[in-house]
C-alpha cells in the first residue's frame, strides 16, 4: 500500500461496531486500512473457501449463526467444531479460536448452543530489519516503581451463543432468535492504535441479539426464499492506556518519567435489518438473489485513538447510517458450484467533539460546554465483490468424496471526509480509499460418518503501523524518548503492508 495514498487522516475509527462473528447484517466501517486480523471468523462456514459468497448461495454451516431462522433447513442435529487460527505477516499478531457448537432440531423446534474460547496475541508493529520489541520495564530516577513494559502476553476472549426457533412446515415459514455474548479482553490491533503508549489493557463485552425469519415458496425449478433479520448489537469496551510522560524535575534537575493511564471508552450500539430474496432462474441450476441491509449505529463514545503518524483528532459521540444493496448469482449443477456477489455500501457517518470547557474560537466567540467544536462528516461509497467456485470429486468405488473450493473477495473502500472546526474556523476535506482483497480456498473430505472441511484465506491490502527502517527502537520506545503524546508526528500515514492468513478446520458430525 502506498503511504502517499493516505494523507494524514486523523480518523481512526475502524469502528468496532462490527464486533460480531456473524456476517452481512452488520456493515463494517473502516476509515484507515488497518489490518484487524481475522479474530471474528470463529464459526464454521462452508462458503468461506468460495470467497464467502452468500447472497444466492446458502451457507449450510454459517447461515444459522447469521439468521437463526435458517436453522430450519437443518435435517438432523449436528455437532460442529471449527478450530481457527490466523496470523499476520511480519510477526505482527495472530490468534486462535476453538468453538464448539451444536445445532439440534426436534419436530418443528430447533435450537443451538455454541461456546468459543479465543486467544489473541498482542499486536506488534511488523518486524523489519530484525527488530524485536523490548518489554523491559522503564526504571525511574528518584522514587517510584519501574514503569511496566508492553504486555506481550496473549489474552483471551469468550463467546457464548444460544439460539432457538420454530418452523411451520405448512406455510414454509420459520422464525428464530439468537443471542451472542462476547467477553472481550483482546481486540486485535487495538494496542497499536495508541501511538506512544506503553501498554493497553482492554476490557469489555458485546451483545448481539437477532431475530430472523425464513419464508420459502416451493417451485419447479427450486424454492423462492425470503429471509429477514433484525439485529441489535451493543458493544462496550474500555481501553486503559498507559503512557509515560516526561517532566522536568526541578529537584533532581533532570527529566523524569511518570506513568499516566488514560481511560478510553468505546461504545457503539447498532440496530440493523436485512432482507434477502432468492429465486431460481429459468436456466437450470442458476439462482439469483438480492440483499438489502440498513444499519443505524450510535456511538455514545468513540475512543481517542492515536495512531503513529496520524494527527490527533478529538473523537466524541457520533452516529452512522449504513446501507448495502447487493445482488448475487449462483449455479449449483451436479458437483459444481459457482457463486458471485456484488454489493454496494453507501454509508454516512457523523461524529463530533464536545467542548468540555468554554472554548474560545478564533472569531472571538465562545463555545459553551457541550457545544460542538469539531464536526466530521463521512460519505462512504464502498463496494464488495465475491466470487467462488467449488467442485466435488467422488472417489471411485468409495462413499468418500473430496470437495475443492477457490474464490476471491474484494472490498473497495472509498470515502470523503468533510471536517468543520468551529474553534479554528476552518474546513478541511479528505478523499481517500483503498482496496482489500482475499484469495480463498477450501478442501472438504466427506466421509459417510462426518465431514471435515479445511478453509483458508489471505487478506491483503491492509497494514499496521510500523516504524522507519532507520530506527533501531520500537514505536513505543521512540515515543517515550520524545515525549509521549507530545511527540505525535504527522504527515502521510505510513502503514506497513501485512497479510492476514486464516486457516479453519471444521468438523461437522451428525448426532444420531
Amino acid at each position: 500500500m502506498s503511504p502517499s495514498g493516505l494523507r494524514a487522516v486523523c480518523l481512526v475509527v475502524p469502528l468496532i461496531c462490527l464486533v460480531s462473528p456473524a456476517r452481512a447484517q452488520l456493515i463494517p466501517i473502516k476509515t484507515i486500512p488497518i489490518a484487524q486480523g481475522d479474530q471474528f471468523q470463529i464459526f464454521p462456514s462452508n462458503n468461506m473457501g468460495m470467497g464467502g459468497v452468500s447472497i444466492a448461495l446458502p451457507d449450510s454451516l454459517g447461515d444459522p449463526f447469521a439468521n437463526p431462522a435458517t436453522t430450519a433447513r437443518l435435517r438432523a442435529s449436528r455437532f460442529f467444531s471449527a478450530p481457527t487460527v490466523y496470523s499476520l505477516s511480519g510477526n505482527a499478531g495472530g490468534g486462535r479460536s476453538l468453538p464448539f457448537a451444536m445445532l439440534t432440531r426436534r419436530a418443528n423446534w430447533y435450537g443451538g448452543l455454541a461456546l468459543v474460547l479465543q486467544q489473541v496475541d498482542p499486536s506488534r508493529p511488523p518486524q523489519q530489519n530484525g527488530f524485536i520489541a523490548v518489554n523491559a520495564p522503564l526504571a525511574r530516577p528518584g522514587s517510584g516503581p519501574p514503569i511496566p513494559g508492553p504486555d506481550l502476553r496473549a489474552h483471551g476472549n469468550q463467546y457464548a451463543f444460544g439460539m432457538f426457533g420454530r418452523s411451520w412446515p405448512g406455510s414454509n415459514l420459520s422464525i428464530g432468535g439468537s443471542a451472542l455474548w462476547t467477553g472481550l479482553h483482546a481486540l486485535d490491533g487495538v494496542d497499536l492504535l495508541y501511538s506512544g503508549s506503553r501498554r493497553v489493557e482492554q476490557t469489555g463485552h458485546a451483545v448481539d441479539v437477532r431475530i430472523g425469519a425464513l419464508k420459502e415458496w416451493p417451485g419447479e425449478r427450486g424454492a423462492r426464499t425470503l429471509e429477514a433479520v433484525v439485529v441489535h448489537n451493543r458493544f462496550a469496551a474500555t481501553h486503559n492506556v498507559l503512557y509515560v510522560d516526561q517532566f522536568w524535575d526541578p529537584g533532581l534537575q533532570q527529566i523524569v518519567l511518570q506513568p499516566r493511564t488514560d481511560h478510553n471508552f468505546d461504545h457503539t450500539n447498532t440496530w440493523g435489518a436485512q432482507l434477502e430474496y432468492q429465486m431460481a432462474l429459468p436456466t437450470p441450476g442458476w439462482r439469483i438473489g438480492w440483499v438489502a441491509t440498513v444499519n443505524r449505529a450510535t456511538h455514545p463514545k468513540l475512543p481517542s485513538y492515536d495512531i503513529t503518524n496520524v494527527a490527533v483528532i478529538p473523537w466524541d459521540p457520533g452516529r452512522t447510517y449504513a446501507y448495502n444493496l447487493g445482488v448475487g448469482l449462483s449455479k449449483v449443477l451436479g458437483p459444481a458450484t459457482f457463486g458471485v456477489d456484488a454489493i454496494y455500501e453507501p454509508i454516512r457517518s457523523y461524529t463530533w467533539a464536545d467542548a468540555i470547557a468554554p472554548t474560545a474560537t478564533l472569531g472571538g466567540d465562545t463555545i459553551a460546554v457541550g457545544g460542538k467544536t469539531v464536526e466530521n462528516r463521512f460519505k462512504f461509497s464502498n463496494a464488495v465483490f465475491r466470487i467462488g467456485v467449488g467442485r466435488d470429486i467422488a472417489l471411485e468405488g468409495s462413499p468418500k468424496a473430496i470437495g475443492l473450493q477457490f474464490g476471491l473477495m474484494m472490498r473497495s473502500i472509498n470515502y470523503r471526509l468533510q471536517q468543520t472546526n468551529h474553534v479554528e474556523l476552518t474546513q478541511r476535506a479528505l478523499r481517500t480509499g483503498w482496496l482489500e482483497w482475499s484469495p480463498t480456498w477450501g478442501l472438504t473430505l466427506r466421509f459417510p460418518e462426518f465431514e471435515l472441511r479445511y478453509r483458508g484465506r489471505v487478506m491483503k491490502g491492509a497494514g499496521r503501523p510500523g516504524f522507519g527502517a532507520q530506527f533501531v527502537v520500537g514505536a513505543r520506545d521512540l515515543a517515550v524518548s520524545s515525549g509521549a503524546i507530545l511527540a505525535v508526528p504527522s504527515g502521510p500515514l505510513s502503514l506497513v503492508d501485512v497479510n492476514t492468513a486464516t486457516h479453519q478446520i471444521s468438523l461437522s458430525l451428525p448426532i444420531h
Binding site: A8, G251, Q253, A311, R431, T432, L486, V488, P489
Partner: protein, 447 residues
C-alpha cells in the same frame, strides 16, 4: 458453467484493476493542535513537575534574608530591592541600581557618585528551576568550573545557592565602596575588604546576622544541632535558595497545562503563535528544552547600553568577557521563558520594554540594531547607549546565525507570537505580595 462464468470473471478482474488505483487524495491539513504538538515534540519541551518540598525553617530563614538590607554593606539594599515581588521579582529597570540608590522599582534612582549595575536584574521567578547557567554571562554553571574571581564553598547544594553568595561581594550591587557609611552613619565594614577577600566579607556578614537574636533563632531552627557560631555564609545562601524554590517557582501556566494534554488550555491565537515559535520564527532554536531556554548563549543583536563590563568596557561582551570565550562575544545567556510576560524590560540590559518590541526586534535583528532609537529608553540610561557604527558592526559580526535573515513575520503573526509568550504566564505569578514579610529581624525597613 464455463461459458457463463467467463464474463463474470472478466468483470471481477476489471473491478480489481479499477480499484487498485488509489483514488486521488486531496491534502488534509493538520489541525493546529497536531501541528503544535508535532513541533513541540521535536524540542524536548516538557512540563515542569512540582518543586520538591523545602524545610519550612530553612524557607523562613531564607525569606528573612531575602528581604533584609542587613546583607548590604550600607544596610540600604536587600536582594528583594532588585528582585521586587511587586514587579515579579525584578526591578522593572533596564539596568539595576545597587547600593546608594533610593526608591523602589521603576522609581528607583542612582545615588550620588554611583553608576548603574552593568546588566539588568533578572527575575528570580523560576530561578531554582534547574538552570544550567546563572548570571547573564553564565559565569556560574551547574557543570563548569567555578567563577574565576571567587572560590565558593564546596558544600553548596545547588547553583542557586552559589549564586546567592555573589551579590554581597559586588561593590555596585550590595557591598559598597571604601569610605561608605551605612544608613545609620556608621562605617561600612564590608567595604573595607579588598575584592580578593570573599571569605572575610562573608564572615563579616555572618557576624552582623548572628548579632541579632532573631537570626540566631532562625539559624538554630534551620540547622538544628549546628552551633550558629560555626556557620558560614553558605548556609545563609542555601536558605535563600530554599526560599526561592518554595516561593518563586511558578510553572503552572496555560502552556504547561497544554503540555499536560489539555488542548483547550490555550487559545487558537496562542496556538498559532506557538507554531510560529517552534517553526518559522526560529525562537526555539535557542529557547528549547524543558525550561524554554537557560541552557545556552546567544548574540541576539541587542543594542549596547550601560557602563560596560571588565576589559570590554564601556561595552559589555557578555560571555565573551570570560577567558577563552571569544566565540561568545556579545553573547548572553538565553533566558528561560516561563512568565516572560511579567519580567520586562527584556534582554541583558533591558533595552526593550515590551514583548511586542522584542518580537519586532527578532523579526529583523540587523535592521532593529541599526535603527534602534535610544529615546525609547528611560532618560537615566539614554546617555549610556553605544550606537556608534563600529559597535553595531562589531555586534553583527558574531550575530546568531539564525538571526541574520529577517523572519518576515506579519503584524498579525507577531501578535500571535506575543500571545503565545503570554500563555507561558502562571497566573499565581501575577501577584507575589504574599511573600513579602511585614518586617525583618534587623528591624530595617523591608522596602
Amino acid at each position: 458453467m464455463t461459458l457463463s462464468v467467463r464474463p463474470l470473471c472478466v468483470a471481477a478482474l476489471l473491478l480489481a484493476v479499477a480499484c487498485d488505483e488509489t483514488p486521488p487524495t486531496t491534502g488534509f491539513p493538520e489541525s493546529l493542535d497536531a501541528q503544535l504538538r508535532r513541533s513541540i515534540g521535536q524540542w524536548s519541551v516538557v512540563p515542569i513537575a512540582a518543586p520538591p518540598q523545602q524545610d519550612p525553617a530553612l524557607v523562613a530563614l531564607g525569606r528573612a534574608l531575602m528581604f533584609d538590607k542587613i546583607l548590604s554593606g550600607n544596610r540600604d539594599i536587600s536582594c528583594a530591592t532588585c528582585h521586587e515581588p511587586a514587579l515579579h521579582a525584578t526591578d522593572g529597570l533596564p539596568l539595576a541600581i545597587g547600593t546608594g540608590g533610593t526608591g523602589t522599582g521603576t522609581a528607583r534612582t542612582l545615588g550620588p557618585g554611583r553608576s548603574f549595575v552593568p546588566r539588568n536584574a533578572p527575575s528570580l521567578l523560576n530561578s531554582a528551576i534547574g538552570l544550567s547557567y546563572v548570571f547573564w554571562d553564565g559565569r556560574l554553571s551547574r557543570f563548569g568550573p567555578p567563577p574565576p574571581d571567587v572560590t565558593l564553598p564546596r558544600d553548596l547544594p545547588n547553583v542557586i545557592a552559589a549564586q546567592a553568595m555573589m551579590p554581597v561581594l559586588n561593590r555596585r550591587e550590595m557591598r559598597g565602596n571604601p569610605g561608605d557609611v551605612d544608613v545609620f552613619g556608621n562605617p561600612n565594614e564590608l567595604a573595607q575588604f579588598t575584592d580578593s577577600q570573599p571569605d572575610q566579607i562573608w564572615r563579616a556578614i555572618m557576624q552582623r546576622l548572628l548579632a541579632i537574636p532573631e537570626y540566631v533563632t532562625l539559624f538554630r531552627a534551620a540547622y538544628p544541632g549546628v552551633p550558629p557560631s560555626s556557620l558560614t555564609f553558605g548556609p545563609a545562601a542555601t536558605a535563600i535558595a530554599a526560599f526561592q524554590m518554595a516561593a518563586l517557582m511558578k510553572t503552572d501556566s496555560p502552556f504547561d497545562h497544554y503540555l499536560r494534554h489539555e488542548d483547550n488550555a490555550i487559545s487558537v491565537e496562542e496556538k498559532r503563535g506557538g507554531i510560529l515559535f517552534f517553526t518559522r520564527a526560529r525562537c526555539v532554536s535557542c529557547h528549547n528544552g524543558p525550561l524554554l531556554g537557560g541552557q545556552s548563549f546567544s548574540n541576539s543583536g541587542v543594542p549596547q547600553l550601560g557602563p560596560g563590563v571588565g576589559r570590554g568596557a564601556p561595552l559589555d561582551l557578555g560571555r565573551g568577557e570570560l577567558p577563552n570565550n571569544d566565540v561568545y562575544r556579545f553573547a548572553f545567556r538565553v533566558p528561560p521563558l516561563r512568565n516572560v510576560e511579567l519580567t520586562a524590560p527584556y534582554f541583558h540590559n533591558g533595552t526593550f520594554a515590551t514583548l511586542e518590541s522584542v518580537v519586532a526586534h527578532y523579526n529583523d535583528v540587523p535592521t532593529s540594531l541599526r535603527n534602534f532609537n535610544p529615546a525609547t529608553l528611560p532618560a537615566a540610561v539614554q546617555s549610556s547607549y553605544h550606537g556608534d557604527q563600529a559597535t553595531i558592526d562589531d555586534i553583527l559580526k558574531t550575530l546568531e546565525f539564525t538571526l541574520r535573515t529577517p523572519l518576515q513575520l506579519t503584524e498579525a503573526e507577531r501578535g500571535q507570537l506575543v500571545a503565545f509568550l503570554k500563555s507561558l504566564t502562571d497566573p499565581s505569578a501575577r501577584d507575589l505580595s504574599g511573600i513579602v514579610p511585614a518586617s525583618v529581624p534587623s528591624g530595617l525597613p523591608v522596602r
